[in-house]
């Protein structure tokens, strides 16, 4: 009798474990933490499924905050944080969220995360928070976050969602940083605030570096349209290197 009870208990326990596994990873099979499928979730958004250049999401903030490199980098980090956490939270709640208000629930979670980040930065990293000013609040409106919550976190376990969140935010950040690099370099001749092309004085004689040869900054790069053109060039380069992204006709 006892052995049978024990067996029953053991069976129940494995069942429970399986259920938990199912809940956490969204698949029945036991997977290695960085199995090839999981690695793909993390790395796909960097190239084949990039949120900006392939899915064309999050263009708005790619225009707004890529004038300089530093805010672009900090913005990318903040998006990684918000996206990873909101993906995990939505994924944990995915079986209890009522279908009809799921978008509202997602919005509330993202907004709460963003406010939390903002408040904590204001208290413990005041200078960073000043540097970012309104950009932190703007993360709420970033379509990539809602897109990934809706498309991925609602149907997958928390661990996979975490990877998906980090991957997509990194893919977004990568493009942001590339755009900001060109815009700051060509628009104001600086990188991270350092005058890498030399110093522009009032006259040619006062100038050093490229400016002494008569080089001028292209002020057009400071305006948003140039960000779109840079995105276009990035998409062009990416597709010429990665042929499977090209549509059939």
């Amino acid at each position: 009798m006892d052995t049978k009870k024990n067996q029953d208990n053991a069976m129940k326990e494995t069942e429970k474990k399986k259920e938990l596994m199912m809940f956490l990873s969204g698949s029945e099979e036991k997977e290695h933490f960085l199995s090839s499928a999981n690695r793909k979730i993390l790395s796909d958004p960097l190239n084949d499924d990039n949120p900006i250049t392939v899915q064309v999401l999050g263009i708005c903030s790619a225009l707004a905050i890529t004038v300089q490199l530093k805010p672009a980098i900090v913005m990318s980090l903040a998006v990684v944080f918000v996206m990873a956490f909101s993906n995990v939270i939505i994924s944990l709640l995915r079986n209890s969220i009522p279908g009809r208000i799921r978008i509202i629930v997602q919005l509330v979670v993202v907004a709460a995360m963003v406010i939390l980040v903002d408040q904590i930065l204001k208290a413990y990293a005041y200078d960073v928070s000043k540097q970012l000013s309104i950009f932190i609040g703007l993360i709420i409106t970033n379509c990539i976050i809602m897109g990934r919550l809706e498309a991925f976190a609602l149907g997958n376990g928390p661990y996979k969602s975490l990877l998906d969140g980090i991957g997509n935010a990194a893919g977004y950040g990568l493009i942001l940083i590339i755009i900001a690099f060109f815009r700051e370099l060509l628009g104001s001749g600086k990188l991270l605030g350092y005058e890498v092309l030399g110093h522009k004085g009032l006259t040619l004689a006062d100038s050093t570096g490229l400016y002494a040869l008569g080089y001028e900054d292209n002020g057009f790069f400071l305006l948003s349209p140039m960000a779109l053109i840079v995105v276009g060039v990035i998409i062009w380069v990416q597709r010429s290197r990665n042929r499977k992204l090209i549509e059939e006709n």
Partner: protein, 252 residues
């Protein structure tokens, strides 16, 4: 319970709002003292930096003017905090440091309180006026330090809430703020006109023309800076006149 039923949806929504609301208000109230302290220290740092720049000389020792240092030594250098109305009368019962200029500016002009800070650094005396105005996207503010002739600018500090990075936000950079050093706020006829931010400025290093060069791509923010300086300073004019009449000020 039916997960798509009305009852469940309502219960879920209510529970979610309560949980999120409690969590956020708890964090906000917990962090509020820290945040307020940061803002207070930054105000002291801004006031001090208008006349000392980035490094402060405390009893012969050069120190980086960080927020911590600023709040420590603020009392040593800022000797008076005066609350004024727009007629130049001193309001004795108002703590100038606690005056919120944004709130004051929303009142009718004759009910406003204008703070003025008087500081001594080395041999020199400075008058520091807090500024506030509007840029392109939101408020801009700052401090302006006048030398004891109440005409020449010792230094300025600007800040903003949401000007465009790389364009309007450049008003907070050192190279822009340095342009104001040694400019004068009275014109040749002796009327207070402040310092204008001018597009296509051709004055070079002329310090007596009440104008500095603008930032390309930041015309509206630049105009906001000009207006801010003029609109705020003119409310101090009656008090400045009194000061100049008395022996306290060396008239040039």
């Amino acid at each position: 319970m039916d997960k798509n039923g009305n009852a469940y949806t309502f219960i879920f929504a209510i529970a979610m709002v309560i949980v999120v609301g409690v969590a956020l208000s708890f964090t906000a109230t917990q962090l509020k003292p820290l945040q307020d302290e940061n803002v207070r220290q930054e105000k002291m740092q801004n006031i001090l930096s208008t006349f000392v720049g980035e490094k402060i000389n405390v009893e012969g020792e050069e120190k980086e003017l960080t927020r911590d240092v600023a709040s420590e030594v603020y009392g040593e250098f800022v000797s008076e905090e005066i609350s004024l109305d727009n007629k130049g009368n001193v309001k004795k019962d108002v703590d100038a440091f606690k005056v919120n200029l944004a709130k004051e500016l929303s009142k009718p002009n004759d009910e406003r309180t204008y703070p003025l800070y008087v500081a001594n650094y080395g041999e020199d005396k400075f008058y520091i006026v807090p500024l506030r105005g509007s840029g392109l996207w939101g408020p801009i503010w700052g401090y302006i330090a006048l030398k004891d002739d109440i005409n020449t600018i010792k230094g300025v500090v600007f800040d903003h809430a949401g000007e465009t990075a790389g364009l309007g936000a450049e008003i907070t950079t050192d190279w822009f703020m340095e342009r104001f050093t040694d400019e004068v706020i009275y014109d040749a006829d002796g009327s207070l006109i402040g310092v204008a931010v001018v597009k296509g400025y051709s004055g070079g290093t002329d310090k007596s023309d009440n104008a500095v060069d603008a930032i390309s791509g930041a015309t509206i923010t630049g105009d906001g800076v000009s207006d801010m300086i003029q609109n705020i300073l003119k409310n101090y004019e009656p008090y400045f006149k009194e000061l100049k009449k008395s022996d306290k000020v060396a008239i040039r």
